[in-house]
Symmetry: C2
Subunit: 510 residues, 2 copies
């Protein structure tokens, strides 16, 4: 049986590429956290050079000729010599490297460099435009990025829609055709559920969440929960940024960010738990495979399942707050002294149509995604002109959520994604929501007394289970295969819907 050791000439090269990519990630992290405003233009160029180099090295003739010995270009699978088979890790590694290589090979290096530069710049302009509520300011950059991404889809090739080419970059195997029925099923059940909730006589008081909560105490509590989750601060950090995110340079250096709003307790709290879920995935990747696909996360949907599992299935559960609420109450005695645990639980699960995706409840969240999924398809397919975006956005908000953003800052400008060219990224958030419930229910079956553990603040056996089932495998299995291995089923809206109907049925006495 041939092992990964036989692939050493390839893995050495991949390691170098990974280090260049990791360096670019450090530069991006710095850009979002500490970089002075004036440094943006130079930073865009530095990142572009690194990404260009990584790309050139990946599509080099050395890697091509190594791969051509080992991979059948027709099937993208490892070639077995009779009597001399590849073991499973090698087989997966070759399949995934081939996937990366053949996608990258279709893009000219100059294009990759120019795309990187334009995306860094557009992201910086977006920050300003959002601050100033000026879609017009952002429009020229959006146009540029969009035309690059449409060009990218042409280079990559696709069936049915150019959007599929981009989607596949974030969620291998996903297509419009596989996602549309998922969203249709969600819509069919969530819209009536939402209607029943808004008509319910139950009134949830969440006003106390908008009291004044001290900046440092919010951060400290976030840090406490991260620590309890098993996020390792010896191999990570918590910083502030305009949008919370997680980035990894190596399993020994995985960083999360959050933001703190004085009059919005949930924003720091749940973003810490959310990013912590991402962080645990990246800290749990197998170091020995660093640089290869086996040391990399499998897809954005699976990544998001980790953050949403912690944020929602754990962090918005009664069980979790049984342990943590008394601590939170102690931290914010003046603000929460007269709020019961049950009152807090219902407040952080209050469902109401709102403007901002990242602050949405579990239920309306998917409607936010649906809207973006439809809009970005149309943008990439050229059915929508960028200048019409604010109007289309607002119309769809009205249609799906019944509310219209008073400003573009709270509307079409709210998310960073399109600014850096991440078209096809949004649907992975909903996939993450669906997977999160599937995985959590499996964990509840397999981990003895998990609920009791969570209720006493012991979160590490859950982390260990996720590590065993998901983190340590990297890209050994495709997302669908991984889901089947863990739950016996591919992505499935049913568990999420049942979970939501049960949870909110109970809260709202439906």
């Amino acid at each position: 049986m041939k092992t990964i050791a036989a692939l050493e000439p390839l893995t050495t090269r991949l390691l170098e590429i990974q280090r260049i990519n990791s360096a670019a990630s450090v530069l991006s992290w710095d850009q979002e956290t500490y970089m002075p405003a004036g440094g943006g233009q130079a930073r865009a160029e530095q990142i572009a050079v690194l990404q260009g180099l990584a790309h050139q090295k990946l599509v080099s003739s050395e890697i091509e000729s190594l791969l051509s010995q080992w991979v059948d270009p027709e099937t993208g699978q490892a070639i077995d010599q009779p009597g001399d088979l590849w073991d499973e890790p090698s087989r997966s590694l070759l399949r995934e490297v081939w996937r990366d290589f053949s996608r990258a090979k279709k893009l000219p290096s100059d294009f990759v460099i120019a795309l990187s530069r334009e995306c860094s710049l557009a992201q910086q302009v977006w920050v300003e435009a959002k601050k100033k509520n000026s879609f017009a300011m952002f429009l020229p950059n959006l146009r540029t990025v969009l035309s690059f991404k449409r060009e990218e889809a042409q280079y990559l090739g696709y069936t049915d829609s150019p959007y599929n080419a981009l989607l596949d970059g974030y969620e291998p195997g996903a297509t419009i055709a596989t996602l549309e029925p998922v969203f249709a099923q969600l819509k069919a059940r969530l819209v009536p559920l939402l209607k029943r909730i808004t008509q319910s006589r139950v009134h949830i008081d969440d006003g106390f969440l908008r009291r004044s909560y001290a900046h440092t105490s919010q951060l400290e509590f976030g840090r406490l929960v991260l620590t309890a989750m098993g996020y390792d601060f010896e191999r990570g950090r918590l910083d502030l940024s305009a949008h919370p995110f997680t980035t990894s340079f190596h399993p020994t250096d995985v960083r999360v960010t959050t933001y703190v709003h004085e009059h919005d307790l949930p924003s720091c709290l749940f973003s810490c738990i959310h990013e912590g879920g991402h962080g645990l995935y990246d800290q749990g990747l197998d170091q020995q495979y660093y640089g290869t696909p086996l040391g990399d996360s499998v897809s954005l949907g699976i990544h998001e399942s980790q953050s949403r599992l912690w944020e929602n299935c754990v962090g918005r559960s009664r069980t979790f707050w049984r342990f943590f609420y008394p601590i939170l109450q102690q931290t914010f005695h003046d603000q929460l002294g007269n709020v019961s645990a049950e009152g807090f639980y219902t407040a952080v699960n209050c469902v109401k149509p709102s403007l901002i995706r990242v602050e949405a409840d579990e239920l309306t969240y998917n409607l936010h995604i649906m809207l973006r999924f439809e809009i970005e398809q149309d943008l990439i397919e050229g059915k929508t002109r960028p200048e019409d975006l604010p109007e289309i956005w607002n119309r769809k908000m009205e249609e799906y959520l019944g509310i219209v953003p008073p400003t573009d800052t709270e509307g079409v400008l709210q998310d960073v994604h399109w600014s850096f060219g991440a078209f096809g990224y949004f649907p992975t958030y909903t996939l993450g929501n669906l997977y999160s419930v599937q995985f959590f229910e499996q964990a509840m079956k397999e981990i003895p007394h998990l609920e009791d553990q969570i209720a006493t603040g012991q979160l590490t056996s859950l982390r260990r289970w996720l590590g065993q089932k998901i983190h340590r495998w990297g890209r050994m299995f495709t997302p669908e295969h991984l889901s089947r291995r863990i739950t016996g089923s591919p992505v499935d809206p049913e568990p999420f819907l049942a979970y939501a109907e049960k949870k909110y049925g109970e809260i709202y006495q439906l």
Copy 2:
């Protein structure tokens, strides 16, 4: 006349190399400021890959063949075709690129990568060893780095001593032969001056500098002085690190660091002013030449002249504190309310032999350097074994300063430099001291009412003068040529000695 535009194929390549080097600098900055402890090993590898790439690209056949059209390899000077001469910037650019290229060409890329990795690792071990006061812990890494640096000197080639090869990397043109007389002259005048000071009946009370000074207020005052100096926070930041330093990724992103010790007011204060002087140089480099030697600082000695000019000639002058002391007093009313401006001035100019170089007064500082200069020569020449360092260090401390460090942390382990292979770096500090007085005296002659300006907190015309005379030129002139252009003279200990004798003669009533 041929201009730099004719060198475009070369400058494009240099720009790419600079961006890679700048990326490596971001990674190093992060390593010293925010990186979690666990990330060190991976970071060393990432930086090594980037430095290896930058090296490979510099010594590439493309650059070699471009240079061979334009530069005479015998003289290292631009080749002029009759009737088609290069302009001065092009001539300087070619001379300096040739210098960098021919130094780099002598080093194998594998050697550069391995050296970078070992230096990053040794630096991290040094941090721990210093904390734990364990020279033994650091010794294996020191041995490795030292043997690499000795090998580097062999690759580079040299006359007289391998140390000269390393020295030339930091201070082009400097050799042991040029430096020894400078140090001899300093020693001949400073040692007797020091003796007269220690025998003086003047007693300076500086005990109040060790009172408790709040962390945030120290930092705020540092920031205030930096702003007054003209350091641009839109293109820079102030952070904390174990050792203060300045690093630049581009003139639009130049970062300084400091440290804050509650019971040591001068450490944050003067390190901010010092690093600010470095920062102004890097922010003042000409952006249009970024990536070429004309957009780079000329030498460490000249760089240090900028930091020492601000720290000492400005920051330790009576004139400066005429404006800033009332503000400082207001900031620290409880601690400084009963200390007069004159009392503060003499306290921050108190001369006494001390253990730590970076905290030394202007006078004994050069004795600290002399000791390092001698030790590192012997190390590189193989006359001293690394294991004997603590003993040699302590003996020389006794000899030059009359005191012996009680621990290696306060002795041979105090400086970071040797850990990252910076042998030949220390003498540039003394060159900086000498240049700083030469330049400042010239500024006093050329800027009308400079003293009045400083006395009223107006520091920008000094910054502008330094920008005009030094910063904007990059490496257009050699350090010696630059010094002659500005002051009419090369580096010269006399002005510094006269300044020191006058200043301390007055303070100590000699």
